[in-house]
């Protein structure tokens, strides 16, 4: 079965006696048991639920893992992954991480060591020795720097370090970290996987059963699993993952080309794939004016939805990163991040062009509105 086919068939509920093509939504807390002494396949939705299980099996299949666990948000998944490391353990984390992850790291009782995952020359035995897990995003957000996962996995494996990769930016449609040597994949399903900006959800996909089991135990004990209805919406969104991401990626490439040729843009960052790009103008006020001057782009955090958005990461999604860390990762204050949606690329380029070409300090000329 090819990937496009798997997206359609994977979310079909095999055990539904009525063979509905859209999966049934098991909006229930409990399941009646056949006997008093044994547990059936499902007993209580905090532990396991057929609608959630359906989307988890699909996610595990897409990422190529043993099993997946869906959580109520991306951060719930990140938190569960980071707590694989016991109190006081040494963890290696990448320089450029989502602000919410930084905020969490600040509160966890872990010995956090930074690693430049983009620079293999900086990796030595001393870096990995004694570390419990290594956590990174690739491409990173919002600087869009990539990590050679195969090379990094050789180091983590040799030192018994659990390699955890946040694959939210590209999704399994464009990148499968478990096949490149990672042990655990983190997904904020809120983004490309659900794809319509209509829910928050997260997932962990484990390569091996040995990692999956303790995570499943922990999730049940803490009660952070995804609600059945959100799991149902997520399964619905997955059907169009391929067409959405291909289209958004195509539009993103056109935007990159346009921005590279625009005189007001000093630098464009992109990795040649995916739907997120970033650019700089060399002037914070200018960048802010551009962000506020577009009409088609919502000023909003998040990405991977059908509607395009624009943001100033320094003051929005990454505001929770301490200023010292922001300067350490050299997050430029004038950096503008664009998350490309499904609108017409011509409309998006025209909108950006108007916002970029407006004289500095002047609001853009009003366009007709009814």
């Amino acid at each position: 079965m090819r990937p496009a086919t798997r997206l359609i068939r994977g979310t079909r509920c095999g055990h539904d006696p009525y063979r509905a093509t859209a999966p049934p939504l098991y909006q229930t807390a409990t399941f009646a048991q056949a006997t008093a002494t044994g547990f059936d396949a499902y007993d209580y939705s905090r532990t396991d639920n057929p609608t959630r299980r359906l989307v988890e099996d699909e996610l595990a299949s897409l990422e190529g893992g043993h099993g997946a666990l869906a959580y109520s948000s991306g951060m719930a998944a990140v938190a569960a992954a980071l707590r694989l490391a016991p109190t006081g353990a040494r963890v290696l984390v990448a320089q450029d991480l989502y602000g919410g992850t930084e905020r969490l790291l600040d509160r966890l009782d872990l010995e956090v060591a930074r690693i430049d995952t983009t620079d293999p020359a900086s990796w030595t035995d001393a870096v990995f020795e004694g570390a419990h897990l290594c956590y990174l995003e690739t491409p990173s957000n919002p600087l869009l720097e990539t990590t050679d996962l195969r090379a990094l996995a050789r180091w983590t494996r040799r030192h018994g370090v659990v390699l955890v990769v946040d694959n939210t930016m590209l999704s399994p449609w464009l990148q499968r970290p478990l096949e490149l040597g990672a042990d655990l994949v983190v997904q904020s399903c809120t983004k490309h996987l659900a794809g319509h900006g209509d829910l928050t959800a997260g997932a962990l996909i484990a390569k091996e059963r040995a990692l999956y089991e303790p995570l499943a135990f922990q999730r049940n004990a803490e009660g952070t699993a995804l609600a059945p209805f959100d799991a149902w919406l997520l399964s619905r969104g997955l059907k169009t993952l391929g067409v959405r991401l291909e289209r958004a990626q195509d539009t993103a490439r056109q935007l990159v080309k346009f921005l590279r040729g625009h005189p007001a843009v000093t630098r464009v960052r992109d990795v040649g794939m995916g739907s997120v790009l970033a650019f700089e103008t060399g002037d914070v006020a200018r960048s802010q004016q551009v962000v506020e001057g577009t009409e088609l782009f919502s000023i909003a955090v998040s990405f991977g939805g059908v509607a395009s958005s624009i943001s100033l990461p320094c003051v929005m999604s990454h505001a929770s990163v301490p200023a010292a860390r922001r300067s350490a990762v050299q997050l430029p204050p004038d950096l503008v991040r664009i998350a490309v949606g499904l609108e017409d690329p011509g409309d998006l380029i025209a909108d950006l062009d108007r916002a970029l070409s407006a004289p500095r300090g002047q609001p853009r000329p009003a366009t007709a509105s009814a």
Binding site: V243, L296, E343
Partner: protein
């Protein structure tokens, strides 16, 4: 609209749904409410009771209207509720409806069994033949209703000519645009007065809702349609409206991909020795290819075909496919295979089925978003197994 743009793809994402004015929520809230508190007697904000109007349903209506460059659309609970609303709003006892003879079986059942007994004259005509349509419209009519492409044979109606003929006979021209949707065909631009949609199909596209809509640029007609919906209570539900809005955001992507996939699968079928005939508007062999190019921007997801072995072979095929699902709906994300004579069109009188070309051996395939090579492999394997089964049971001698 909040912005100056009319690109179809952009409309699919934004039209009708500016961010929520009170919270900034990018998605329209689901107003799952029966009633709305009124400020004072006789003073409301346009919403009083959800059978008459609901903000989430109104957002869907605004988007559906924008997709056909129309000021108005009214959403209904199902596709058949849209057809019902259209007929009740436009035709009275003693008046006449001219309907294409190849239309969805539910439409035929409704007109035959529920409308004709009220003293409405219902005549079915070959809408794919301009001369036959002209002859039927020598006599005045109130409503002309056609499908193009017609479900399930894919015969086309010349919509521009059909509109002229209907208007000359004093009739409104209604086009059921369910198979192609405004992503691939714009009936109002070709002269139709109303575009009829079963949003259950390609519009919502995920096989998760039922819904219908009537889109028109005629303000008076819109007012009459709304009055019927409010009166008979066939209004769309807020939750289904919301799911349909989400579905529309990917409509252009799905419509294009499914058309491309259908063309690939149709070409495979055309080259297979067990297949007697194949219809898809993108095939060079399609009899109305010129008209298809004129009034459609792509062929759409549907394929109609018949096997050399007729009904026996078709039944074997439909029972043996594994990836394609034997199911009724069309335009869904997954590939569905249907036997119109016993399923979608079972309630069409046999003589009318025969005249319309809905033979017992006809197979309808609605191609989804799967990789078309997987669909082809499934069909090829099923055709091989079906042929072997029929040969060994002696049913086919060729």
């Amino acid at each position: 609209m909040l912005f100056e743009t009319t690109s179809f793809r952009t409309q699919c994402v934004h039209a009708g749904t500016p961010p929520d004015p009170t919270t900034g929520s990018i998605l329209t809230p689901i107003h799952q409410t029966t009633t709305f508190v009124q400020e004072a007697v006789g003073k409301d904000r346009g919403f009083t009771y959800s059978r008459a109007a609901n903000p989430t349903v109104a957002a869907l209506e605004a988007r559906l209207a924008a997709l056909e460059d129309a000021p108005h659309a009214v959403a209904t609970r199902t596709g058949m509720a849209a057809v019902t609303t259209l007929v009740l709003a436009t035709v009275s006892a003693g008046e006449r409806i001219v309907c294409g003879r190849t239309v969805y079986g539910g439409t035929v059942r409704f007109l035959h069994e529920l409308i004709a007994p009220f003293g409405v004259q219902v005549d079915f005509v070959d809408a794919g033949d301009n001369a036959a349509l002209a002859e039927a419209l020598v006599e005045p009519a109130r409503l002309v209703l056609v499908e193009s492409p017609a479900n399930p044979t894919l015969e086309l109606c010349d919509l521009r000519r059909g509109a002229e003929l209907a208007h000359a006979a004093g009739a409104l021209f209604a086009v059921d645009n369910t198979v192609l949707t405004p992503a691939l065909q714009r009936p109002l631009d070709l002269g139709a007065d109303v575009s009829v949609l079963s949003t259950t199909k390609l519009i919502e596209g995920h096989d998760a809702t039922l819904g219908g809509a009537l889109v028109t640029r005629d303000e008076d007609l819109d007012r009459r349609l709304r009055r019927v919906v409010k009166t008979i209570g066939c209004s769309q539900a807020p939750f289904d409206a919301w799911l349909t809005l989400r579905g529309i955001t990917t409509l252009p992507l799905r419509a294009k991909q499914q058309s491309d996939n259908a063309r690939t699968v149709a070409r495979f079928l055309e080259g297979h020795p067990a297949v007697a005939r194949v219809a898809h508007p993108d095939l060079e062999s399609f009899p109305q290819r010129t008209l298809a190019v004129q009034q459609q921007s792509a062929g759409g997801p549907l394929i109609a075909f018949e096997l050399e072995g007729g009904l026996g072979a078709g039944t074997e095929l439909m029972n043996r496919v594994r990836l394609c699902s034997l199911a009724e709906n069309l335009g869904a994300a997954e590939t569905l295979i249907t036997h119109p004579a016993s399923m979608t069109h079972a309630d069409v009188p046999p003589a009318q089925r025969e005249a319309a070309g809905i033979t017992n051996g006809l197979v309808r395939l609605s191609v989804g978003l799967e990789d078309p090579q997987d669909v082809i492999r499934d069909l090829r394997e099923a055709l091989t197994v079906a042929e072997a089964a029929l040969t060994s049971s002696g049913e086919v001698t060729r």
